[in-house]
Amino acid sequence: MLKVFLQFRHRRFRRDLSAYLDGVLPQRARRRLDAHLDSCQACHQELTELRSTVEALGSLPMAEVPRSFALSAAPIAEVRPRPTARRLEFGLRLATATAAFALTLVLIGDFAGLPGAGEKEEMRGGLLSAAQETPAAMEAAPAAPDIKSIQPEEPLFGQYGPSGDVSPPETPAAETEAPPVETPAAEGMAAADETPAAMEAPPGETPPAEETPPAIGAAPVETPAADETPAEPEAASVETPAANETPVATAAAPVETPEPYGTTETYQEEPTVGAGVSEEQPPEEKMTEGAGGEEQTEAYASYDQAAAEEEGGGLSREEAVRWLEIGLGAGVGVLAVVWALARLQRSIGSRP
């Protein structure tokens, strides 16, 4: 045990030898190393060799320049992307990640909360509120013009909504492939209702439609519409003037994906989401002063952390975002395939 401890100490001292040579070791560490050097012949030897190495390196002469490197004419100034362009790019990337995340939640919810045929009837009450809630979110959509374009779903909601006419078979608007298609539609809504509650808000009372990650900060705006399950039309009008209504609309939009339109809708929405988000994105990207776009400003305080960074290689925020996107994209892709297969299987199985 003592031997292990001594070995550990010895290794630590060896690591400090370089800083000791340069006189940049803190006073206390220096005194400790001095004491150790008196007793440890190996460290003493290593210090001597290290000193010789440094002296040898210092003896290397500086070469003369082969020519003058003065500029004969001013080079053309570098065209850097405008800050807004950079912000837009960052916003788009964030939006992609957000949309992927939202879709993942919806798909997971679709799996987790698949109600059977019997539950459908029982769900009507819930559906009514869900249908009322969703138009509330949809009404916020006009703020984002692109989202408007994917509103063919509205008739479908209309059937459930104000009329209260919930009889499942009458869904000509949502005619897609087979009679049992209605069930997925209802399930989709159910899933849309359940997903966030299951995934993000275990307490149950919190707004059910807050797939938007906290980064966007649209959740507070969402709250009124989602909380009041009776969902008076005022809820929508309250939402619309809010500053960040676009994320509200986008948050609601992915929820609709399990409807007969399939997953591709979500991808179509992405640019809209991007435009909405990017405008609110604060200019976080701080360009480093020196050269090279890929410079990383490591903020490691201690020597040990620095050593760890040496081993593992630092990970900049840009890289982290990229990997997050790749991870989410891959996850969504797998989920979409599995979801489509399961759905196909179900539709085949329920066919007479």
Binding site: S18, D22, G58, P66, F69
Partner: protein, 196 residues
């Protein structure tokens, strides 16, 4: 060059005065060239040096005071790292090949004694080969610290990392250089041979 003069030259350069910038080039070109020489070998050093000054001129507006030499060396270091990365992707142009083509140790020296000169060249060749075995960031740290004599504070600016990282890179680089030289102790010139 007095620091105050340098600050004035930098300000003039930032306002588009090419002559002022060229005066800065004259002051720092030797350091920049030597860094590129040690990092890339003589074949690529000239281009890298020229690239450094062109890039520096273009990015002058980004320089917000501080140590101009460290800022310039940071640009050079990034260009060297890019070149090494590019070279790694094309193995035909390896560092060894570049070093063989034109060894940066072939630096004329004021030593009058031919024997001393031969010994010095021999040691220089070993040191350069040892440096070539280090990872790029350790090599940069060692070159800037032990050959160019930058302080640790300047190194944090030139390498764009924290003091802890600088210390760590130097310590690791030196330890590896020591191991490299000790493994070739017999090959080293006698008068530079490391003590047992």
């Amino acid at each position: 060059m007095v620091i105050a003069d340098e600050a004035q030259l930098v300000r003039s350069s930032q306002s588009g005065d090419l002559d002022a910038f060229n005066a800065l080039v004259q002051v720092h070109q030797r350091q920049v060239y030597n860094l590129c020489l040690r990092m890339l070998g003589s074949a690529a050093a000239e281009d890298a040096t020229q690239d450094t000054f062109i890039t520096a001129y273009r990015r002058l507006s980004n320089f917000r005071g501080g140590n101009f030499r460290a800022w310039l060396l940071r640009i050079a270091a990034n260009i060297c790292c890019d070149a090494l990365r590019h070279r790694r992707s094309r193995p035909a142009a390896s560092l060894e090949a570049a070093l063989e083509a034109g060894s940066p140790t072939d630096v004329p020296s004021p030593l009058p004694n031919p024997e001393e000169e031969a010994l010095r060249r021999e040691l220089g060749r070993h040191l350069q080969q040892g440096l070539a075995t280090l990872p790029a960031e350790q090599r940069l740290a060692i070159i800037l610290r032990d050959i160019h004599g930058l302080s640790y504070e300047e190194l944090t600016e030139a390498l764009g990392c924290s003091l802890g990282t600088v210390k760590s890179r130097i310590a690791r680089g030196r330890a590896r250089m020591r191991e490299y030289l000790m493994a070739r102790r017999e090959l080293l010139p006698r008068q530079f041979r490391l003590k047992q």
